[in-house]
Symmetry: C2
Subunit: 460 residues, 2 copies
Amino acid sequence: MTDVNPVLDRADANLDASLTRLFDLIRIKSISTDPAYKAECRKAAEWLVGELSAIGFTASVRDTPGHPMVVAHHAGASADAPHVLFYGHYDVQPVDPIELWESDPFEPSLKDEEGRKVITGRGTSDDKGQLLTFVEACRAYKDVHGALPCRVTILFEGEEESGSPSLKPFLEANAEELKADYALVCDTGMWDRETPAISASLRGLVGEEVVVLAAKRDLHSGMYGGVAANPIRILANILAGVHDETGRVTLPGFYDGVAETPDDVKATWQKLAGNDTDFLGDVGLSLPSGERGRSILELIWARPTAEFNGITGGYTGEGFKTVIAAKASAKVSFRLVGQQDPEAIREAFRAYVRSKIPADCSVEFHPHGGSPAIHLPYDSAVLAKAKTALSKEWPKPAVIIGMGGSIPIVGDFQTMLGMDSLLVGFAQNDDRIHSPNEKYDLTSYHKGIRSWVRILDGLK
Amino acid sequence: MTDVNPVLDRADANLDASLTRLFDLIRIKSISTDPAYKAECRKAAEWLVGELSAIGFTASVRDTPGHPMVVAHHAGASADAPHVLFYGHYDVQPVDPIELWESDPFEPSLKDEEGRKVITGRGTSDDKGQLLTFVEACRAYKDVHGALPCRVTILFEGEEESGSPSLKPFLEANAEELKADYALVCDTGMWDRETPAISASLRGLVGEEVVVLAAKRDLHSGMYGGVAANPIRILANILAGVHDETGRVTLPGFYDGVAETPDDVKATWQKLAGNDTDFLGDVGLSLPSGERGRSILELIWARPTAEFNGITGGYTGEGFKTVIAAKASAKVSFRLVGQQDPEAIREAFRAYVRSKIPADCSVEFHPHGGSPAIHLPYDSAVLAKAKTALSKEWPKPAVIIGMGGSIPIVGDFQTMLGMDSLLVGFAQNDDRIHSPNEKYDLTSYHKGIRSWVRILDGLK
C-alpha cells in the first residue's frame, strides 16, 4: 500500500487551483435540453478532455447523435490493479426561473451560508462539482506518485438532464472499451453533513395500467344501480386485495427473491432512524403505511411495494352525476428488491386481477416499464473497502444505504456491461439541485476529493 | 257506478277530433330551455286553458318567474267524490340535431311504423300526448254525463324539461288550492305493448363526495413508496368494504326501514322476468351484480343500493407517473327504498369512512341530495282500483312496478302537499323521447284516453 497521506496533503495544497478549475467548468453553460446551448455542451466536453489529457489520460470527445461523450483511459500502477469506470455528467439543468437566483448561475462564487462556505452556481452539485472531485483526486495521485493505483476509465455524459437518449447506443457500440471491474458513480449524496453514504441498492420497477370494462356505455344509476356491474366497485375490490391487513402484498410468489436485510445493516439503519419522524413529518404524515414491524428506512430501501399511482372512472367533474361508468382504470406500480423477477410479478398481478373480473366484464392491461432491482451484495469486498476509506475521511463512519427509486445508468451498466456500480457522492440534501441557487458545500468538494483519494487507494 | 261503456264509446267517436287537438298542441313550439320560444310556451299554456275551459273547467294561466303554469278545477259528480290532482307538462325538449328528423318535429303526422300507427313529432310522447289522454277522457265523460266522477284539479307545468325552477315556490304558494286526495301523474310508460304499468315506488337518493387527504403534496413513489399513506389505497379499501361478498351493503343500520316485497308482488315481477336477460344484454352485461337471490326487477325497484359514480386520484393522463397522490376522491350514492332515512344513512356512511382513515390522514365530505324513497303501499285502495281499471282496457293485466330512479315532482307532492301519487302512463320504450323522431303510438293515445275513463270511473 502506498502512503496515502502525501496524496491527501497534495489534494489540500491543490484546493485553490482545483476551485479555479471548477469555476471554469461552471462558467460553461452546458444546458443539454436547450438547443441554443449545443456549442456550450461541446465546449464543456472539450474542456474536460483538456484537463484529463493534462494529467495523463488518453482522452477524447466522442460524437453521438446528441451531445458528445467524453471517454478517457489511464493505466493502473500495476498490471493486476483493478479497473474502474468512473461515470459523471457535464450537462446541467436550465436555470429558469432566473429571477430567483441571488447571483448569476454561470458566474460561480464562494459564499458563506449558515456558517459554511458554499460554491454557488448551476451544476456545482449536479454534477460538475461531484465529477471533478474524482478528477482532482486523480490529479493529486499523479502529482505525488506519477501513477494511479487503479486502472481508470472515465465516461462523462452530456445528456443526463435530458433523458440520456444517446447513452444506451453508445454503451452498446463501445461495450468492450467501457467494461471494467465495476463502475464508480458520483451523482448521489451524503446521509448528513458528517456521515458519508454508499448507495448499495436501487429498487426495480414494474408498472401496469389496468382498465376494467363493464357495460358497453355509461348507465343511469337509477335504472341500473344494484344490477349492472360497476367497474369502480370491481377496481376498488381489486386494489383493496393487493395488500393484507399487515401491509404485505398478497400476490402469490411476490416475495420470491426478497432476502432479509442482514441484522448489522438493519442495526445501522436503526441508528440513522432518528430522522424518521422528520422524513414523514416533512410531508405532513406521521405513520409508516407499509409492512408492519419494519423501519421506514428498511421499507424504502430494502422492501418491495405495491403502489397505486392513479385511478379514474365515472364522473369526476364538479357536482354529481348518478352514472354507472362503462370503465374504470388504475395505474399500479411495484418497486422491486433483491432477485424479484419483474415479468413474474407482472404475470402474478394480471392473474390476480383476472380472477376478480366478473364473467360479463373484461380487463385490459397496458404495461409500463419492467426493471429488476440493482444491488451490491452487502458483503461485497468493494463495498467494504469503500466504506473503510470513507470512514477515515469523515467525522462519522460511512453508512450503506439503499435508494427507493432507480438511476437508469446503474441498470444499464449492469445489464449491458455486466458491471456492478458503487454509488458514492457528496451532495447535501439542501444543495437545491434543479432549482435556483444551486450550491455545493466547499467541504463536499474538498473532502470529496480526499474521499476519492482514499477510495482509489483502498480499492487497489 | 255509472255505466262506463257509453263514455268509452264517446272516446272512440271523439278520436279523430282528439287527434286534431293533439296535432294543434304539437305545433306549438314550447321548448322551455330556449328563451327564443318563450312566447310559444305561453301560447301552449293559453291553448290548454282554452281547451279545459271548453269542457267546463275553471282554468287559468298562472304566471311564474319562468314559464307559466296552467291550473284548472272541476267539481266532482257528488260532494263526497274523491279529489285528484292531475299533473303533466306542456313544455318539450329542443329538437337538435334537427337533420336527423325524418319529418318536421313541429308538424305532426300519422305514420305506419312496423305495422303500427304512430303519431310523430316533438312532445307526442313526452308529455303532450300523455297529458291530453287525461283531458280527452274528461271530455268524453262530460259529453256523456255532463259531469266528472271525481273532483279534478289539473296542474300543467311549462318547465319540466329545464329543471322545474318555479315548481316548488308555486306549490308552496298555492298549497291549499292544489292539495287533493292524491295525484295522478302521467309521465311514465307501459311495461310492454300489451301490459299497462303503475309505478308504485321511486327510490330515494343520498349522494356523498368523499375526499381522502394524505400527504400535503404529491410524492415520488420511489422515495416514499411503502412508507407514505396512499390515499388511493385508503379509498379503495373504503369502497371495497361498502358491500359484503353477497352484495349487501355493510353500513350499520343501512337496511332499517327496508321491508320485504310481498310475495304476490314478487311473483308478478318473476313473471315479467322474461325480459331480464334482455335488460342487461342490451348494455353488454349478463350477471346481476346486486344482492344475491333477488331478481333483477326486485333489485332495481325494491332494494336499496350503494353505487360508486366516480373516482379520481393521482396521475390519470397518458403514460405513467410514479407518484403517490396527496388526495383521492370518490362520488358515492345510495338509492333508498321504503322508510330508509337519508340523513341516517349519510351519517352511517361518514362514520364508516372516518373509521377507515389513518390517524395522519383526513377526510372531507361534500353532500349531494338527500331524498327518501316514495311509495304507494302495495295494498293501497287507489292502487287496486287503478290496476283493475287498466286491466280491463289492455290485453294483459296491469302490473305494479317500481322505478329505480326518482321523479322530483312526486317527492314534492309528498313532502310539500302530503299527497301520494299514482304514476300511470302509456309511453313505449321505443318512443325516442328527448331524441329525434319522437313518436307516440296511436294505440297509446286511444287506449290511454280509454284507460283514464276507466280509472276515473274506478276511483269515484
